[in-house]
Amino acid sequence: MVIEALRAALEANTVGVRGPMTPAEARAALGALDDAESGPIAVSPGDPLVAELGVVEHLAGRGADLLLPDAPDWRDRLPQAAIGVTAAHLAVADTGSLAHICGPGAPRAVSLLPPVHVCLVALETVVPTFAEAVARFAAEPLPSAITWIGGPSRTGDLEMVTTLGVHGPSRVEVLLVDTNA
């Protein structure tokens, strides 16, 4: 129920939603990305699900052009990245929001500067309401930033018609992952 509500809310915000899928399928889906895109794949390795799925090792094993936050030229190369890969800490069904906790190994701009953002969502992190998500964050020590993402960057400034892709990614893909499968 709550998964379908999340899917509907995200799709209404022009987010592509795939899954639920197994961890192996998620790794395969990420591996297929570097066939289609040119430019580095920026990853947020500090996100728990990214670590749990072994995303960095899998992509490195395929010889992908990876960009990780510990790279000395990270700030210079991130603007050239083709894709940003992150995982949501919580996904909110009623508002269709993907909440990302920023911190060491989990920069703010991986989901912002590249034109495509791929976000992994573990089924057990989906919560029904925005209020519940805020209450969960408020109960723990706060990071320097929590970024909530609803979909591709958009503007209403051109005659109040929603137009995608102004400053942030013009494409957002969500992979729903059943980590118990």
């Binding site: 809310a9 915000n13 936050p69 990270w74 700030r75 603007p79 909110v92 009623d94 508002t95 269709g96 929001s97 920023c102 911190g103 060491p104 190994g105 920069p107 703010r108 701009a109 912002l112 925005f130 209020a131 805020v134 209450a135 964050f137 408020a138 706060l142 990071p143 320097s144 930033a145 929590i146 970024t147 909530w148 993402i149 609803g150 979909g151 591709p152 960057s153 958009r154 503007t155 209403g156 400034d157 051109l158 005659e159 109040m160 018609v161 137009t163 995608l164 892709g165 102004v166 400053h167 942030g168 990614p169």
Partner: protein
């Protein structure tokens, strides 16, 4: 202010006439119908949510200075630097000094009404610091050397053709009249500015006193870029943006975004708690928060306190029959529409916008649309009365203390309360009518204009059935000609239609019908 205002004219009436005669503006304003769904979203919002939001906002106003102190302590605890500015001048010099001390040559800004209020971009430009507005609408307005005409959609007054022409002045060749192409061009054109800017400036939508978290909502992502990439982030926060608790965002944010754009949630939401921490690759090294007073704190405890509950959603603009015809520039002020008509004279203590409270039909649509239940129409009526006296506007504190209900905010003015649901719901008992009729007795007659005297007399005469019958009979006998010729009313009727009295009154027809055996039954 140095920005050009596209609608010429010295008074609201002159600027409105120019706006009504401007075919480009009138064409662009038809797009406002797309925002009417926001009014529907507010109307469909559960009363409980609105009540909860209203009570959070009033909880802040009951102890504004206390919440600000708690917020300042929390911000400092998480490593932010707090600056307190009493005036726009002070706020400008704080920010310009921060930029100069750091050798900043480029600033990127996300949209913020507070920075418009203090004209910050111009101050930075005068200090030879390149300052780029990055919200697309705000950028269009900056390139055109104008001001925003709507707080959510700054370039609402421009059609796509004009926008393409304006942006072409910054492009290598003519830009197409195509939305996707213009958005893509903006992406490519402004991205280098984000990457080279040493300072990002934003507003604040809400700041939680318990955690020191500032929240910024955007749809384009420019707010995220301004607060993520440059080494210094400066947030300009009008003092009333403080909220007690982080969890209050669960109530206020959905209400803000529904009321502003009809979205369940804004596309991007940043909850920022201090600057970058050790080992973080991005986020600013420094976070500065500038508390802007500009006469706001003086409103606490006065009859105008409710105005500080405003969350800047723009819902009152979208439904206002005046705003929808003349747009924002006709107001000649940073804040336009119903909330601007109230806020402009209050923030300037009567130095600006004295005529604005009169630019309203008092239809009450703004009061209905307001998600935090600000009695805008009542405040307009009160301002009309208070601004009769020339000079500085300094609202007096009221004895009953801070409260959201118009009934308890000191004495009541004739006509006040008619537009609010709370006042309209119960039938007013006879004694209250008498009170309204006599209420001009405690006003100083030295300041009574002819119009006020006429309305007060009218109010008194119509408070009695005999007075009502006598004057309405007179109106019917003369077919209203007397009213149109009265000195003072000729100006009033130039922009209004005085309805002609019916040949036979409802009372006469009622009396006839109830004497007729066929209709007596009903």
């Amino acid at each position: 202010m140095s920005h050009g205002i596209v609608t010429p004219g010295a008074t609201f009436a002159e600027r409105s006439r120019a706006a009504l005669a401007d075919p480009e503006l009138q064409g662009a304003l038809t797009n406002l119908h797309r925002r009417l769904d926001t009014a529907r979203a507010v109307a469909e919002t559960s009363p409980e949510l609105k009540d909860r939001a209203s009570s959070i906002r009033r909880e802040v106003l009951a102890d504004l200075d206390g919440w600000l102190d708690r917020l300042a302590a929390s911000l400092e605890r998480v490593g932010a630097v707090v600056h307190r500015a009493s005036t726009p001048e002070e706020a400008r010099s704080v920010v310009v000094a921060l930029a100069r001390e750091r050798g900043v040559s480029t600033v990127v800004k996300s949209k913020s009404m507070a920075t418009e209020e203090i004209d910050l971009a111009d101050a930075l430009e005068r200090a030879d610091i390149e300052t780029i507005e990055t919200d697309l609408g705000e950028y269009i307005v900056q390139v055109a050397d104008e001001r925003p005409s709507h707080m959510i959609t700054p370039a609402i007054h421009k059609t796509l053709d004009t926008i393409a022409e304006v942006l072409t002045t910054r492009a290598d060749g003519p830009l197409p009249t195509d939305r996707e192409a213009l958005a893509a061009w903006t992406h490519d054109h402004l991205r280098p500015a984000f990457l080279r800017a040493e300072m990002g400036i934003s507003g604040v939508n809400f700041a939680a006193a318990d955690t020191g978290t500032i929240t910024i909502v955007t749809n384009e992502g420019n707010g995220r870029l301004c607060t993520s990439w440059p080494r210094t982030h400066v947030a300009v926060m009008p003092v009333e943006k403080v909220i007690p608790r982080l969890v209050d965002l669960a109530t206020l944010l959905p209400l803000l975004t529904r009321s502003a754009t009809g979205q369940a949630m804004s596309n991007y939401l940043s909850m920022i708690t201090g600057p970058r921490r050790d080992d973080e690759m991005d986020g600013p090294d420094e976070l500065h928060v500038v508390f802007l007073d500009n006469n706001r704190r003086a409103l606490v405890g006065t009859a105008y306190e409710d105005m500080l509950a405003c969350i800047r959603c723009g819902a009152c603009l979208n439904v206002c029959p005046v705003y929808r015809r003349v747009s924002g520039h006709a107001y000649g002020a940073v804040y336009s529409g119903p909330m601007g008509k109230v806020l402009t004279p209050l923030l300037s203590q009567g130095a600006e916008g004295r005529e604005l409270p009169h630019a309203s039909s008092l239809c009450g649509a703004c009061t209905e649309a307001c998600p935090v239940e600000i009695p805008l129409a009542d405040l307009l009526v009160r301002l009309r009365a208070d601004l009769r006296e020339p000079g500085v506007l300094r609202p007096a504190p009221i004895a009953t203390g801070g409260s959201s209900s118009p009934e308890s905010t000191g004495h009541r003015l004739p006509g006040e309360g008619f537009a609010t649901r709370a006042a309209a719901a119960p039938l007013v008992p006879q004694g209250a009518h008498r009170k309204v009729g006599l209420s001009f007795a405690h006003l100083s007659f030295a300041h009574l204009s002819f119009a006020h005297l006429a309305f007060a007399t009218w109010s008194r005469v119509w408070a009695s059935p005999g007075g009502y019958r006598a004057t309405s009979a007179l109106g019917r006998l003369t077919k209203g000609r007397w009213a149109r010729r009265l000195p003072g009313l000729t100006g009033w009727t130039r922009t209004r239609d005085l309805p002609l009295p019916a040949a036979r009154s409802f009372r006469e027809r009622w009396a006839e019908r109830t004497n007729d055996p066929e209709t007596r039954s009903w």
